[in-house]
């Protein structure tokens, strides 16, 4: 493995359940987390629906994987950028999303929010800094 840490970003652009992309992305992120890189996730377009709280798939007979986003912090994936414009276009606010947190090792395990709402322009800047981007 290369000793240089690269910046990896996973772009999530699709709604959960209708297609397999959201779950696949989450699995790739969790597997990739073993490689000690600088990982972040971006949720934009319909991808913001992945984080909506109160998902209950019992009646459609599918696995509800929304609780798995809560495990991201355990896997040291702590940067989740949600695009403000994508939320607004869909009538959503930060309050409609699941609260996701992580414990900061360097700050006496203080619990901190993983989700950060950013504007499209800010997200574009963050994307510019990345070495590798995967889009799902």
């Amino acid at each position: 493995m290369s000793e240089q840490i690269k910046k990896f970003m996973y772009l999530n652009r699709r709604a959960p359940y209708g297609t397999i992309y959201a779950w696949e992305s989450l699995e790739v992120v969790l597997i990739g987390a073993a490689f000690d890189q600088d990982v972040s996730l971006a949720f934009l377009d319909d991808g913001v629906y992945q984080l909506v709280k109160g998902q209950d798939t019992a009646e459609v007979d599918m696995k509800n994987f929304s609780p798995t986003y809560q495990a991201l912090g355990d896997y040291d994936v702590t940067k989740l950028f949600v695009e403000k414009e994508s939320l607004e276009e869909r009538g959503l606010t930060l309050d409609d999303l699941m609260p996701l947190t992580y414990e900061d090792e360097d700050d006496d395990w203080a619990e901190k929010d993983s989700i950060k709402v950013v504007s499209r322009a800010e997200l574009a800047d963050i994307m510019e800094e990345q070495d590798v981007m995967f889009s799902f």
Binding site: A15, D46, Q55, D56, T57, V60, N64, R90
Partner: protein, 85 residues
């Protein structure tokens, strides 16, 4: 959803299911178009709303929330059925 609306004529019924249910949420650009479509009845599948964490009070007024049985009944009632993927 936008393009589907362009083809929905008077007397049509539009049922939103799977990821299509996002078209039924209040406060979006699509919501206004649904309100403006006259003579078209709108339905949304309840279990798919639930799966995606969309509460019933978030659904645009005038859209009827239906279950699987009503889904089948609608398909039977309307003599032509087009699935818009």
């Amino acid at each position: 959803m936008d393009s589907c609306l362009g083809y929905a004529k008077q007397g049509s019924a539009v049922l939103m299911y799977e990821d299509g249910i996002y078209g039924a949420i209040k406060g979006t650009a699509i919501a206004d178009k649904i309100a403006a479509a006259s003579g078209v009845s709108f339905y949304v599948l309840g279990p798919d709303l639930k799966a995606r964490g969309v509460a019933e009070d978030k659904v645009v007024d005038g859209i009827e929330i239906v279950d699987y049985a009503k889904f089948v009944a609608l398909s039977a009632e309307n003599d032509k059925v087009q699935a818009w993927v």
